[in-house]
């Protein structure tokens, strides 16, 4: 089975992305040619997989762990709905999730 994500690229373009509900959100976004660079590969070391979560989805995702919050705290483009996509494990209930790619720092 697969789920559908709505991804907004850095030029404001909307994309519907079909993906398997497994692995991290970053792994799905990394596949896209407009996607995230995710330099550290999901170690929560670099903050280059930064996304904004659509407001209606923020509360439906597990809360940030400490390292994630620490990295986000110092980003120039941080917002309240900022997340590191490597720290979000995709689940079947994420069907319809809408994310906006944050500008590169």
């Amino acid at each position: 089975m697969s789920i559908r994500l709505s991804v907004v690229d850095r030029n404001g373009g909307e994309h519907e992305v079909e993906t398997a509900p497994q692995g991290s959100l970053m792994e799905t976004l990394r596949e896209l040619d407009y996607g995230v660079s995710a330099i550290c590969g999901g170690m929560c070391s670099c903050a280059t997989c930064h996304v904004y979560i659509a407001p209606e989805w923020v509360a439906k995702l597990p809360e940030r762990q400490s390292d994630e919050g620490d990295l986000l705290a110092e980003l120039q483009f941080r917002q309240d709905n900022s997340r590191l996509s490597c720290q979000i494990q995709l689940q079947p209930e994420h069907d319809g999730l809408r994310v906006i790619l944050a500008p590169e720092e």
Binding site: D33, M43, S45, C46, L75, R78, P103
Partner: protein, 426 residues
């Protein structure tokens, strides 16, 4: 193979992190013509850092290491020639010659040839390399062989106390392997960090159960009767250490031979300018194999790091796509061992002052390296937030007050100045 000289075709030699990124970055920057990545290994471009960590511990499979899955290459129309080796670059005719004699014609070329594990030079090494339990660590196949031996109680001797050796030791301890680490220099991580950091990591490894020895050189090896396995490692001082398997991590050699033979300038790496262009304007290079001018350091450097591979590959792609930009990133690195998240920014070579903020005992600190008052590097252990601040501070290339750096009552970001506020989105 039929080639027309009128058609563009960009080839990238090397399918590692830099090669993969260079290909996709070319598409992102608007190059729509034929594009092919050539790699010696059988795998799609993949991440190497987990090779000494999660993949070694058996926590993930090879496909999880891929930077992008096969479908992404098909969608981007990026060709892959895997398990293929380029033997020669014929610059006069703009051809690549493969080891099986086949040829292709390039319009532009990207070199992302990376590096290979430095081999041991002792006389027993050649024989050891033919056994089944003596390993270097650079690629997936190396690690597949090593991790089969990660069984409780097996005796591992790690030769080399650099990041790879120490990460292997930490991964092995997690699998209840008995580990000895041998470092020829007086301390581990000697080339890259301060004595205080070396001592910290030595203590961590010893407390975890590693038999870590410094100032000790390997002089020879014992073999079993069949000659297909190493059974012990001989060292200076008559020390003999029995081994069920051996992993050697004594550094990396850049793969520059192809470039050198083609007459490109090589000096501890393929020489490129700030746009990642080699001495041939039709050839760019990126990643571990390059010697590049560092705006930050004020000299030429060669880096072995993923951030450098990715960021330089993008600059190289820009040059090929007619959108040149200067590569001016500040180097950064990471290493995960046990419960320690080490993040480093800048290069500490030549520092004259070491300032510690926080507590090594509590495994939470940042180490600052200053040179004539200017902050040149920071190592942060389990301090992700301060690392992010430190990146900005090091990039600023300016002096900081050592007493203020050490003072934990003042948040580090107060010294760095505020993050520029960005306009909200979405």
């Amino acid at each position: 193979m039929s080639d027309t000289h009128t058609e563009d075709h960009i080839y990238i030699v090397g399918a590692g992190h830099a090669g993969g990124e260079l290909a996709f970055a070319l598409r992102q920057q608007g190059y729509a013509g034929p594009l092919t990545v050539i790699g010696e290994e059988a795998y799609l471009p993949y991440q190497r850092p987990p090779l000494s960590k999660a993949y070694l511990k058996g926590e993930c499979e090879a496909t999880a290491l891929y930077l992008r899955q096969q479908a992404a290459y098909e969608k981007a129309n990026i060709g892959l020639l895997l398990s293929r080796r380029v033997e020669r670059i014929d610059r006069a005719n703009k051809k690549l010659v493969f080891d099986d004699g086949r040829e292709v014609t390039y319009s532009k070329l990207g070199l992302a040839t990376g590096g290979r594990a430095r081999r041991m030079t002792i006389s027993d090494a050649a024989r050891a390399e033919r056994t089944r339990n003596f390993h270097y660590l650079r690629n997936i196949d190396d690690v597949m062989a090593i991790r089969e031996r990660f069984q409780e109680g097996q005796r591992l001797v790690v030769i080399g106390g650099g990041y790879v050796g120490l990460e292997v030791a930490a991964s092995a301890i997690a699998r209840d392997v008995k580990v000895t680490v041998l470092e020829a220099l007086p301390r581990v991580l000697a080339r890259v960090t301060a004595p205080q950091m070396s001592e910290f990591y030595e203590t961590i490894h010893r407390n975890a159960g590693v038999d870590l020895r410094t100032n000790i050189e390997v002089t020879g090896l014992d073999f079993n009767e069949a000659g297909d396995a190493v059974t012990a490692v001989h060292c200076t001082g008559g020390v003999v250490i029995p081994a069920d398997f051996v992993v050697v991590g004594i550094g990396l050699l850049p793969n520059t031979e192809l470039a050198q033979a083609a007459g490109l300038e090589v000096d501890n790496g393929i020489v490129v300018n700030e746009y990642a262009v080699t001495s041939d304007p039709d050839i760019v290079a990126a990643g571990d194999c390059t010697s590049h001018p560092s705006v930050f350091c004020g000299r030429r450097i060669r880096l072995e790091s993923v951030p450098n591979a990715v960021e330089q590959a993008r600059v190289a792609a820009g040059s090929l796509a007619g959108k040149p930009k200067v590569y001016d990133s500040v180097p950064w690195f990471w290493s995960d061992q046990y419960d320690l998240k080490l993040q480093m920014t800048g290069l500490s070579q030549g520092y004259d002052q070491f300032v510690l903020r926080g507590s090594m005992q509590n495994k939470s600190f940042a180490a600052f390296y200053l040179k004539q008052g200017r902050l040149i590097a920071v190592d942060a252990v389990n301090r992700a937030q301060e690392f992010m601040v430190a990146k900005r501070m090091v990039a600023a290339c300016k002096p900081f007050d050592p007493a203020a750096l050490a003072d934990e009552t003042v948040p580090l970001k107060n010294l760095a100045g505020p993050v520029q506020a960005a306009a909200p989105q979405a």
